[in-house]
């Protein structure tokens, strides 16, 4: 690759980041005007949140089961199985819950947002709204963004609760850990603010970033079926990368 090419790649990347940043500004600017489309926002919470419930709950349960097994095995080497509940819940609240839910969310809700908005672009529905003097940023994008910010933390909490039940099932019901030990060890080590709520803040940010990426990709897609397909792929890739990168930054600040 020649130097000129490399500069192009870097320049294109920076330009894309800049465009996404401007898109975010436009979305935030559209939020006040979108408040009158409350009904649309509620509908979007249903689509991005309630429709993601099944996958999030299933994955939460399995993650909990696996964590229970793995950590029981590791902790038993140190005679520390009593802290299984603590270790599982801290791992979930601080990292796994928000991050895994965000990745699932990107795959389930993010792609459908991209496909939906991309299709609206391809079939001129966005232009039609413009022509009916309805701003698509406020009517289409902002409600989905708000819905993502609201739905993601709830999904992450549901994920965490299911995972705790999974770990409890493995540790207590199957491997015979004492029920009281499991819970009391957890309750004396987990803090509401530094652990549970920090996870909630994280997932609000993740919900915003995934819906932002998904809306951006849909909004700017090439108006062909091929363009929509590519945009959907880019949504998963970019929102996963953005989620994990932001996770690092936020962890550094929240610690």
């Amino acid at each position: 690759m020649s130097d000129a090419n490399r500069t192009n790649v870097v320049g294109d990347g920076l330009a894309e980041v800049g465009r996404i940043g401007l898109f975010l500004v436009a979305v935030i600017a559209a939020i006040p005007r979108s408040l009158r489309y409350l009904r649309e926002t509620v509908r979007q919470i249903f689509f991005v949140g309630a429709m993601s419930l099944v996958i999030v709950m299933t994955c939460g349960l399995f993650i909990g089961l696996v964590l229970g097994l793995q950590l029981y095995d590791v902790l038993s080497r140190f005679g520390g199985t009593a802290s299984l509940g603590t270790v599982v819940s801290l791992a979930l609240y601080r990292e796994l819950g928000p991050v895994v839910t965000a990745l699932l969310f990107a795959g389930r809700a993010g792609t459908s947002i991209t496909a939906e908005i991309g299709l609206m672009r391809a079939t001129d529905q966005l232009s039609a709204m413009e022509m009916m003097a309805v701003d698509p940023m406020s009517y289409v994008v902002a409600p989905r963004f708000i819905a993502g910010v609201i739905a993601m933390p709830l999904l992450a909490c549901i994920f965490n609760a299911l995972a705790i039940f999974g770990a409890h099932a493995v540790g207590v019901t199957w491997l015979g850990l004492d029920n009281g030990t499991f819970w009391s060890n957890m309750t004396s080590n987990v803090d509401v603010w530094t652990d549970v709520m920090n996870g909630v803040y994280k997932s609000m940010v993740f919900g915003g970033i995934v819906t932002l990426m998904a809306s951006y990709q849909g909004y700017t897609t090439a108006p062909t079926s091929e363009g929509v397909a590519h945009a959907t792929t880019r949504t998963v890739v970019f929102s996963s990368i953005a989620t994990l990168a932001l996770d690092f930054v936020m962890t550094a600040f929240l610690m």
Partner: protein, 169 residues
């Protein structure tokens, strides 16, 4: 119309479920669960060393939680740690010759205050002091002792581990 209504019901259910999960996580799996919001009464206990005992650590009899550590402070004149325990009102029947000790749950677990019930017919009342106490076992010192064949690495640490402070006796 009915389609719109089913969205709203679904959204409502989802939000209720989400907040229920958040409520469960916040109140049942964190230290908030230890704020047993019932009436409690206070007992005092003095320890020469509280080790890693933390506020809101559980107080247990026979392994069952009956209250929590409410305050830990240093008594300036005696240089002892004075620990205030908040005991659930339901457990009023604690004999006044019971002993308090600081234990560790498991090898790596947290520390808690365990009460050994005595045989006295008189029961402890609000503000009373548990006179028989046993300090936290310092794991490092125990290990040190075994490694150097029973001799503690430093002289001033020697009485701490096994000492029973019983000023009343």
């Amino acid at each position: 119309m009915s389609q719109r209504r089913s969205y709203q019901i679904g959204t409502g259910l989802f939000i209720v479920l989400g907040f229920a999960a958040l409520g469960f996580l916040a109140t049942q799996t964190t230290s908030l669960a230890n704020y047993r919001q019932g009436p409690t009464y206070a007992l005092q206990a003095r320890f020469t060393n509280v080790g890693q005992l933390k506020l809101r650590a559980p107080v247990k009899i026979a392994g069952v939680r009956i209250g929590s550590v409410h305050a830990i402070e240093l008594e300036p004149d005696r240089l002892d740690a004075k620990v205030t325990l908040a005991i659930d009102e339901r457990f009023k029947q604690i004999p006044d010759d019971s002993a308090a000790a600081i234990f560790t749950s498991g090898l790596l677990g947290d520390q808690y205050v365990g009460l050994q019930p005595g045989g006295s017919p008189d029961m402890l009342k609000n503000g009373d002091e548990l006179v028989l106490t046993q300090s936290a076992i310092q794991l490092e010192e125990l290990i040190g002792k075994y490694l150097v064949g029973g001799n503690p690495p430093s002289a001033n640490a020697k009485p701490e581990a096994e000492k029973t402070s019983a000023p009343g006796n």
